[in-house]
Amino acid sequence: MGERRTIVIDPVTRIEGHSKITLHLNEQGRVEDAHFHVTQFRGFEKFCEGRPFAEMPSLMARICGICPVSHLIASAKACDALLAVKIPPTAEKLRRIFGIAQVVQSHALSLFHLSSPDLLLGMDADPAQSNLFGVLEKNPTLARDGIALRKFGQQIIERLGGKRIHPAWVVPGGVSEPLSVEDRDAILATVPEAMAIASRSLAWLKETTARFSDEIQAFGNFPSLFMGLVKKDGGLTFYDGTLRIVDESGEAVAEDLDPTRYFEYLGEKVEPWSYLKSAYYIPRGLPGGAYRVGPLARLNVCSHCGTPLADKELAEFRQIQKNAVLSSFYYHQARLIEILYCVERIEQLLSDPEILSKHVRAIARPNALEGAAAAEAPRGTLFHHYKIDEQGLIRWANLIIATGQNNLAMNRSVLQVAQRYVEGERLNHGMLNRVEAVIRAYDPCLSCSTHALGQMALQVQLLSPDGAVLDELKRP
């Protein structure tokens, strides 16, 4: 047989970030190891040093244009802790709406704009067609629904925050402006269409998922821990609560963990081949402490959603597998169930008369020199932690981003898919697209995770140990 070789997929496309994948083949041409490399690094934790703490929400939002709202919220909550204030109840409710409106738009982007080409056109489809415009030709309703659902979330963000991306509305102590009757009514008027789209998209996705039974077996289908925030009653939440970690049996490994003490039980490991660190649950060490976050994890961790349509879907979701749903292919379905929950919840929150209260901001000077907070971003739990000096200037910051917490699982998933599909002797597009598609299921946000994004020519080369090119595939 042949020599040991490495296949490089560079870049991974239709994801939110700069990355590449290397597949390491043994002498028999079988995939022996695989790495998901994140290739961009930005340095927010360092360059925020010396800046006034009150700038943090708006600055940290610039970590990510897809989920700026999550960073705004986690950052503002950490700043609330620096002020040592309890924010007005209406401010909290408005932040909740803001947060889940973003979950809708971010999840819609992941499912419709990035992954639906694989699901609708197939994993082996012509790469020239595998994009939103290809979906638009084949199934115009699906593409238009995706655009409309993303727009639904973005318009709510615009109405509340004044602009769609990087709004400055969430501030330490609350939010800067109350909600007007006009804006509330305008948002409520868009709810029925969003609900209808979420419901018919779920019906389409469930039917479509059934066609991928083979992929489901290999797309990150393994036991692991799952982590997410839950409410006191165990319900799904995106804004507050305590952390619960369950294992593959669905049993809680840890409960009621205080998210502001994350450093006591969550560690981060550096891999020399990636700018993305790997988070793990310290009591279990590595590799046993690997855990997953995000939509699949949240649905495995919570006891219920708390809204009627989403709870009905959750009950059906739990029929897929006893205890915990393990295949990362189901991130897609979990994402749509969460969209449905968010739309329902937005309606509930807006129907509360208190939502129009003018008391939306607690004013205070900093009263603590250290503050930490967590929130559920679309991709999973997000931690912001700051230390300031007496003048309120940032001295130190640490962020743990959702995507880093899926890093170990993504690497393991890439290996699993590659071992199932990639044959070193005859490379084709479909094999490699599946390796990328499992990454898309996690919806990694790499601008977030390395506190950034891009593309370059995909060239897959088979290299011999001395670097000689044995085979080459260019796409398209």
Binding site: I15, G43, R62, L114, S130, A143, I165, L453, R475
Partner: protein
């Protein structure tokens, strides 16, 4: 009339300018009748094609890979547009410039770490000493500031460019908009 070839590229940015591009919503469908999106994070083309009419660049030039990409892209693009404050001024990515690169690495990969501290240096590109605006590295034809520029601004600028006109951006966007 044949469709113009449009490309969009992310360098060191947050993707917010690309999200603002998507915020054109249904106008994207109309745009698809007028341009071919030949290269973008949103499509599966993996190699930057030759003879691209317009390329929108988001982000600053921050790593060895960014530098290589933008040089290749400039050579294959008729009209290069710096889209957003990071491309135009280096903005947020440039905030690391007062710190030595190693100090920036150390915070993330030595201090805020519990296992195997050390600067990652295998397979991935190194950071350049400074994050720089795009026009300091290659020539840029049109500048659209904003953090990010709004979808309306992007739509206006793009339609003007496609008509062969220089977009008049004063009053439509600004730094930090």
């Amino acid at each position: 009339m044949s469709k113009k070839k449009l490309a969009t590229v992310w360098l060191d940015g947050c993707s917010g300018c690309h999200m603002s591009f998507l915020d054109m919503d249904e106008r994207l469908i109309e745009l698809a009748d007028r341009v071919d999106l030949v290269y973008s994070p949103l499509v599966d083309t993996k190699e930057f094609p030759p003879d691209v009419d317009v390329t929108l660049v988001e982000g600053a030039v921050s790593s060895e890979e960014d530098l290589h990409k933008i040089q290749v892209i400039r050579g294959r693009t008729k009209l290069l547009v710096s889209l957003g404050d990071c491309a135009v001024t280096a903005n947020v990515p440039g905030m690391r410039n007062p710190f030595p690169v190693q100090a920036v690495y150390d915070r993330a990969y030595r201090e805020n770490v519990t296992l195997a501290p050390g600067t990652p240096d295998q397979v991935i590109p190194r950071l350049l000493p400074y994050a720089r605006p795009v026009h300091t590295v290659v020539s840029v034809d049109i500048f659209i500031p904003g953090c990010p520029p709004s979808a309306d601004t992007i739509y206006y600028a793009l339609t003007e460019i496609l008509e062969g006109r220089q977009p008049e951006l004063s009053g439509k966007t600004r730094f930090g908009a």
